[in-house]
Subunit: 322 residues, 2 copies
C-alpha cells in the first residue's frame, strides 16, 4: 500500500468518479471559531465516497474475473458503490447487507442491479459469510476497507483535498474524516503525506464506537463493545482494519468522539448553510469541527462529509434541531 | 448586453463565485425517460445563483460608489447575494424584502451585514420604493434582473454549463431554467448561443405565475394576475424584464409550467438522488424535466437548480411526498 497506488487509482477513476466540491460558509466559520472547509463526498456517485474505492477495485480486475462477478459486504454505502461500479463494468454483483440497514440503502443497491443478501449485524460474522459465498460461487470478494485497491481509491479524495484547499489558501489544517474501518482515513492520510505535508488527518467517531480513537491511544487494535445502537450506521465497524491500522498509527493525530445528537445538529447546519444532504455517520467530522473547537488549535479545519444516504424520517429529525 | 460582458463578468468572478457541479443520477434518468444533467446552483455562495450577478454588478462599481453603498430589492436570494458581495467589497448594503419572505432568507441577509427593510408584496411597488430610498440616501440600486451587469454575471452559469455538459458528452439538449424576471434565463441563453449553439434554453415557471411562458407565446410582455400564492417565492415576479424579454424572445424555446406539488416532489427526488437541498422555486426546472417528459423530444435535458434557501418545515413537507 503506497502513494503510487493512489495516483494509479486516480488515473483509472478519472472521468468516472466526480470531483466533489470543497464548500465553505461564513456561518459555519463563526460556530467553529476558525475557517472550516467541507469536502462534500455526499455529492459523489451513489451518495458517498465509497464509489471511489469500489471503482478502483473493480477496474483493477481482469476481464475473466469481472465476468464471474464480485461480492461485497457493507452497511450500505460500499454496497451501492460496488453495485454501480460492477454494473458499469458489466460484472454481476452480490451484496451482503445488515437487515437493519437504512431502507434507502437496501433499495438503491437492488435498483443498481445487485443481488442483496441480508444478515443479522449483531449475531453473524459478515466477513465469514462473504468468504463462504465467494468461495461457493467463485466470486471475487471486495472488502470495504482491508483491501489495498479500495484504500487507494478512497485516497483519491485526499489528492483533491490537497489541490482544492491550496486554491482556497489553506495548506496547513487538521483534516477530520468520519471513520469506520479506516479505509478513507488511511487513504487520505497517505495522499496528504505526499501532497500536503502540513495537513494532519484525524478520525471522527461516534460515542461508543470509538475503536480507532482508542486504538491510536493504546497503539494496538481495540474493539468496540457493541455493534449496534448508533444512528451513524455507516461508520459502525468492529475495529480498525489490519491493513488500515498501521497506516493510521503512522500518520494520524488523535481522534475526536461525537454524540449522535451532535451529528444530527451538524446535518441540520449542512442543510441550512451548505445545501447538502448528509447522513448521520457522514456528519461526524463536521460535528467534531463545529462542536469541539477546544480539540483544535490551528486556524483552519477541513471536514470530510462522507455520505448522504439517509432516510427522509431521519433527516426530518435532524431538521428539528434547528 | 452582449456575450463579451459575460466573459468580462466571468473574469471578475473567478476565484470568488464557486464553479458548481453538474450532477446526474441513473434514477432520475429513468423517471425522465432521457438523460438528465443537473446544474446545482444551490451550492453557490449564499445558496443561489444570485451571488454571480451580485458580484458582477458590485465588482463593476467605482471605489467611491462602493463607499456610499448599494441597495437592492429581492424576495431573498438576490438579497443574500448582494449582501455578501457588498460585504466582501466593504460596501454598506440596504435590502428591501417582502415581509412574507422565508424567515431563513431574511435572517441570513441581516447576518451577512445588510440593513433589511420589509415591504408588503401585494400592495407596495418595490421598484418605486427602491428608487426612492436610493435617491434619499445616495445609494446605487442593483436591480435583480433588469441590470446588464447582473445578467452578465448570471450568464457565467451558461459558460460552465457548456463546458461541463460537453465533458459528459452532451452538446445538444434543452436547458430548463427556473425563471422569474428572466435574468438567469437570458444570461444563460446569451452564453449558450455563443458556446453551445445546439442547446436550447427554455423557462420553467409555476402555475399561475407563467408570465414569461405566455409572453413568449404572444410575443409581448404579459403580466401575472397575482403576486402571491405560490410556494415558489424565488421566481414569482410580476412580468419579464424590459432588458431580459427581448433576449428571451430571440433565444428561448417554449416555457414549461409546473405545479407547486411537482416542485415539492422534485425537491424530494433531489434529496434522495442528488443529496442536494433545493427550494421550491429552485426545483421548477427539474420538475419540468422529470414530470413533463412529453414536452421534450431530445435525448438529454439539462435542469438548472437555482437555489436552496428553504425553511426546514417546507423541506420536511417536500420529503413527505417520497
Amino acid at each position: 500500500m503506497n502513494f503510487e497506488m493512489i495516483t494509479a487509482a486516480a488515473n483509472r477513476i478519472k472521468g468516472h468518479a466526480r470531483i466533489t466540491p470543497m464548500l465553505t460558509s461564513p456561518f459555519l466559520d463563526d460556530i467553529a471559531g476558525r475557517q472550516v472547509l467541507i469536502k462534500a463526498e455526499c455529492l459523489q456517485h451513489t451518495g458517498s465516497f465509497k464509489f471511489r474505492g469500489a471503482w478502483s477495485a473493480v477496474s483493477a480486475l481482469t476481464d475473466n474475473t469481472l465476468k464471474t462477478g464480485v461480492i461485497a459486504y457493507s452497511s450500505g454505502n460500499h454496497a451501492q458503490g460496488v453495485a454501480m461500479a460492477a454494473a458499469k463494468h458489466g460484472a454481476p454483483a452480490v451484496i451482503i447487507m445488515p437487515a437493519d440497514a437504512p431502507r434507502m440503502k437496501i433499495d438503491n443497491t437492488r435498483a443498481l442491479g445487485a443481488e442483496v443478501i441480508l444478515y443479522d449485524r449483531e449475531n453473524e460474522d459478515r466477513d465469514a459469510l462473504g468468504t463462504q459465498i465467494a468461495s461457493e460461487r467463485g466470486l471475487t470478494l471486495i472488502r470495504p476497507y482491508d483491501e489495498p485497491q479500495v484504500v487507494a481509491g478512497q485516497g483519491t479524495t485526499g489528492l483533491e483535498i490537497a489541490t482544492q484547499a491550496a486554491e482556497l489558501g489553506v495548506t496547513k489544517a487538521d483534516v477530520m474524516v468520519c471513520c469506520g474501518g479506516g479505509g478513507l482515513t488511511s487513504g487520505i492520510a497517505l495522499a496528504l503525506a505526499e501532497t500536503a505535508p502540513n495537513m494532519r488527518v484525524r478520525p471522527a467517531e461516534p460515542q461508543g464506537f470509538d475503536d480507532v480513537t482508542r486504538s491510536l491511544v493504546s497503539g494496538q487494535i481495540e474493539r468496540n463493545a457493541m455493534m449496534g445502537g448508533s444512528i451513524c450506521d455507516a461508520i459502525v465497524t468492529p475495529q480498525p482494519g489490519d491493513l488500515t491500522f498501521p497506516i493510521l498509527k503512522d500518520h494520524c493525530g488523535p481522534g475526536v468522539v461525537v454524540t449522535d445528537d451532535e451529528c444530527l445538529r451538524a446535518m441540520a447546519h449542512a442543510f441550512a448553510r451548505l445545501k447538502i444532504v448528509v447522513e448521520p455517520g457522514g456528519a461526524a467530522a463536521l460535528a467534531a469541527a463545529l462542536f469541539h473547537p477546544d480539540q483544535f488549535d490551528g486556524d483552519a479545519v477541513i471536514a470530510v462529509i462522507t455520505g448522504g444516504n439517509v432516510d427522509p424520517a431521519q433527516f426530518a429529525r435532524a431538521l428539528e434541531t434547528l
